[in-house]
């Protein structure tokens, strides 16, 4: 019961990558949306650490030492928590 609650709290505290602050580090919690597979395969998979470098219509992130650019609609499909 308490584990389920913790999980649910964690999920609620997650925010989408487009809402995340620029210059901060995050960890990918989950992916929700039609482009999940593509996002995972390029590097935005669960538990991966992400640094958001630039925001706006086309965002820039550092994932696993590589810079990835993605549009806002894709960023909305990535749920992250600060780390």
């Amino acid at each position: 019961m308490s584990e389920g609650l913790a999980e649910s709290l964690e999920r609620d505290s997650a925010l989408s990558l487009d809402q995340a602050a620029v210059g901060c580090n995050f960890q990918v919690k989950s992916l929700e949306g039609p482009a999940c597979r593509e996002l995972r395969e390029i590097g935005f998979c669960e538990e991966m650490r992400v640094r958001k470098i630039a925001g706006g219509r086309t965002m820039l992130c550092a994932v696993c030492g590589t810079r990835l650019a993605l549009s806002r609609d894709l960023a909305k499909q990535v749920r992250v928590t600060p780390c």
Partner: protein, 695 residues
């Protein structure tokens, strides 16, 4: 003695990996210069292969497969890689050994693809490339642990310096390593589904049943389409088992990908140590300027301006050489062949025809050289990132930028470069609007006509910018409008792109690419264009006019011009302009030769600019019966507008057909652009007349 490859094909080694993993650099380091470039059967994706001799004296054929993030493809290029590995590409048997090239500095991102390759059941090995980047980022990889976990040989390599190449070549020896069993395990329901599908496929007589079973369950699209390699019975079994998994609440795609990622996390925690905080790399420092919201745009504008300025400036001298060469050829032909039809055919038909195209070779070469260098340096991905903001307003993404930029040199490589675009809708839109990027073949027409409208270099340069801008602006507007009609049910294209680290471009590779494009360009000059110009010459030379009569008005070309005059009159053109337009329908660069013929200019003149000046003089001096100018400025502008928009390039139409796999799109594009060009020229001429401008 015949080639051994002809008797029995050499064992085949395939290089696979993410784009930017250094696959092509490794291919070059392994094979040197003896490459062979062809196309995969049935598709226009380039197949690069070469023969490799190992230190043990054995020979292999090495193929460089298109870069892929996944074996569940998102673009036509990735589809080729998947199909080759799964043996689904007819005429291209599966390789005997697969080399997975991974970026050592980004191992975690690359391992998913490695697992997919292992799941194909082919013997494989892993090359940890770009070890210097890993060291720079304080990443240490325990190769032995990684090798034990994956149950594959792991070889460290630095392809650009040649480090590790000998060790890699030594790994190519018979017997080749056996295929590795799948290292990851999924939840019970998934494992059960894989096993039962594998059994069903085996019973149906399917080869490599294990590999297909996993792939059919892991990829919805793969089991959704009819495939030449898989029977309908196999596909039906896969769909049935996948549906059963879904009913149990364990979608097989999610179950398999979660199991793979779970395994990757375990492998990474066991084999990779990151010491200390990552220092800012040189790429990060450059990006602070290159991707800056203001400085980034200044740098981008500067880079693009420099490219185009260099093309126009540096090309002048080699263009002069081309002119001299063809002038000398004409002189030689005149000296060897007596005056008559044969000399006219050789000089006015063949040599002039070739010259009208080859003259632009320096510009095409320079544009491809700059594009290759920018791409090889890693900057082109940054340009795509910046341009995404602009392109997205037209319903495209930054991924369309490179194909559209290539279109300024030649539409054909631009259309082919669109293969890297994931979204089918965006890809089609890019292909459809691409011919409106003013290509090098339009330049001679612009260079001929602009001085008739504007005097002085500055004014002419601005006019040139206006023409390029008109084409580009209309193309983006058309993409926005067409995007609302084409693929209405598809979601808007999304931009997702890796920005590779900056590096010094592989100049040898870039030069080889440029050479390939240059040869393709010359081939076009020697085939399509040459044929058309010979035909044109014949149309102007026959039937022979009786003594005292004008040859041109008596010739077939003159008669054609007369026949189409009513159709082009509303555009302000006469039969001669109409005839020149018509004859340049398959290749627009023929327009100048056609105009020279129409105005009876002796093309034995050595200097191309002198020919252009003579055509301009005749155009300016031509008058109607009432003494007014036959070709007022508005007529010239109407002609220019027509040439901005008309798709007068037969090879482009053929390539569009092969890339879209549909004559409907290719011919629709041809008809649409021709109609638009006509209407735009009509609007310009009639509008100008109404407003009293340029008449």
């Amino acid at each position: 003695m015949s080639e051994p490859a002809e008797q029995s094909p050499l064992p085949k080694v395939a290089l696979v990996g993410h784009p930017n993993a250094g696959k092509t650099t490794l291919f070059n380091a392994l094979t040197g210069e003896n490459r062979k470039v062809s196309n995969y059967p049935g598709v226009t994706v380039e197949r690069t292969s070469a023969t490799l001799r190992t230190p043990h004296g054995e020979q292999f054929e090495v193929i460089d497969l298109p870069g892929s993030y996944s074996l569940s493809p998102n673009s036509p290029d990735e589809q080729v890689t998947r199909d080759v590995l799964l043996g689904g590409l007819q005429g291209e048997p599966a390789p005997d050994l697969v080399i997975c090239v991974v970026d050592a500095a980004s191992l975690e991102r690359h391992l998913y693809f490695v697992l997919q390759v292992i799941d194909t059941g082919l013997p494989a090995l892993v090359v940890l490339n770009q070890m210097d980047r890993a060291e720079e980022k304080s990443i240490r990889i325990n190769r032995q642990v990684l090798s034990d976990e994956l149950d594959l040989p792991v070889i460290a390599c630095q392809a650009n310096t040649g480090h590790g190449i000998v060790q890699l070549k030594q790994a190519f020896r018979f017997p080749l390593p056996p295929a590795t069993p799948r290292p990851w395990r999924g939840p019970g329901a998934i494992e059960k589904s894989i096993a039962s599908l594998q059994r069903a496929l085996e019973e149906a007589g399917q080869e490599r049943a294990g590999a297909h079973a996993i792939h059919l369950l892991a990829d919805t699209d793969y089991r959704g389409e009819t495939r030449p390699l898989l029977s309908t019975e196999c596909l039906a079994s896969a769909r049935e088992i996948a549906s059963e998994c879904n009913r149990q609440g364990v979608p097989p795609e999610d179950g398999i990908s979660e199991a793979r990622f779970h395994f990757i996390r375990r492998v990474i925690s066991a084999s990779v140590i990151e010491r200390g905080a990552r220092a800012q790399s040189l790429s990060d420092k450059i990006d602070r300027i290159a991707l800056h919201p203001i400085l980034g745009w200044i740098l981008f504008a500067g880079a693009m301006f420099s490219v185009f300025w260099s093309i126009f400036s540096f090309a002048e001298t080699p263009m002069g050489w081309v002119e001299s060469l063809f002038g000398a050829l004409k002189n030689m032909a005149s000296g060897m062949i007596p005056k008559g039809d044969l000399r006219d055919l050789v000089n006015d038909g063949m040599i002039t025809g070739m010259e009208s195209v080859v003259i632009f070779l320096p510009q095409v070469v320079l544009l491809f050289l700059f594009i290759g260098l920018l791409e090889g340096s890693g900057y082109m991905a940054r340009a795509a990132y910046l341009m995404d903001k602009v392109m997205s307003r037209a319903g495209l993404t930054g991924k369309s930028f490179l194909p559209l930029l290539s279109g300024y040199a030649c539409a054909i490589p631009g259309v082919m470069a669109s293969r890297t675009i994931n979204s089918p809708k965006e890809r089609l839109l890019t292909i459809l609007i691409l011919p409106w990027m003013s290509c090098a073949a339009r330049l001679p027409v612009y260079l001929l006509l602009i001085p008739l409208l504007v005097a002085g270099k500055t004014g002419q340069t601005w006019m040139m910018f206006l023409l390029y801008g008109l084409g580009t602006g209309t193309a983006l507007l058309a993409a926005w409008l067409l995007g609302k009609r084409i693929g209405r049910n598809e979601s808007a294209p999304q931009f997702l792109m890796e920005l590779p680290p900056y590096r010094l471009p592989d100049v040898g590779y870039v030069l080889r690419q440029v050479l390939g494009r240059a040869l393709a360009f010359l081939k076009k000059a020697g085939t399509v264009i040459l044929g058309i110009v010979i035909l044109l010459w014949a149309l102007g030379a026959y039937p022979k006019a009786p003594e005292g009569e004008n040859q041109l008005s008596h010739s077939l070309m003159g008669r054609i011009g007369e026949a189409i005059e009513p159709a082009v009159e509303p555009l302000g053109w006469d039969g001669r302009l109409g005839g020149a337009m018509l004859t340049s329908f398959a290749a627009r660069e023929v327009f100048n030769s056609s105009m020279a013929l129409s105005f009876s200019i002796d093309e034995e003149e050595e200097d191309e600019e002198a020919v252009r000046t003579m055509i301009r003089e005749r155009i300016t001096l031509a008058t109607k019966e009432d003494g007014s100018r036959l070709y007022p400025p508005i007529t010239i502008f109407s002609l220019l507008v027509f040439y901005i928009y008309a798709l007068q390039c037969l090879p482009t139409t053929i390539v569009v057909k092969s890339e879209t796999r549909s004559w409907r799109w290719a011919l629709g594009q041809l008809a649409g652009m021709s109609a638009f060009a006509y209407l735009a020229a009509l609007a310009v001429y009639q509008g100008g007349r109404l407003l009293g401008i340029g008449i």
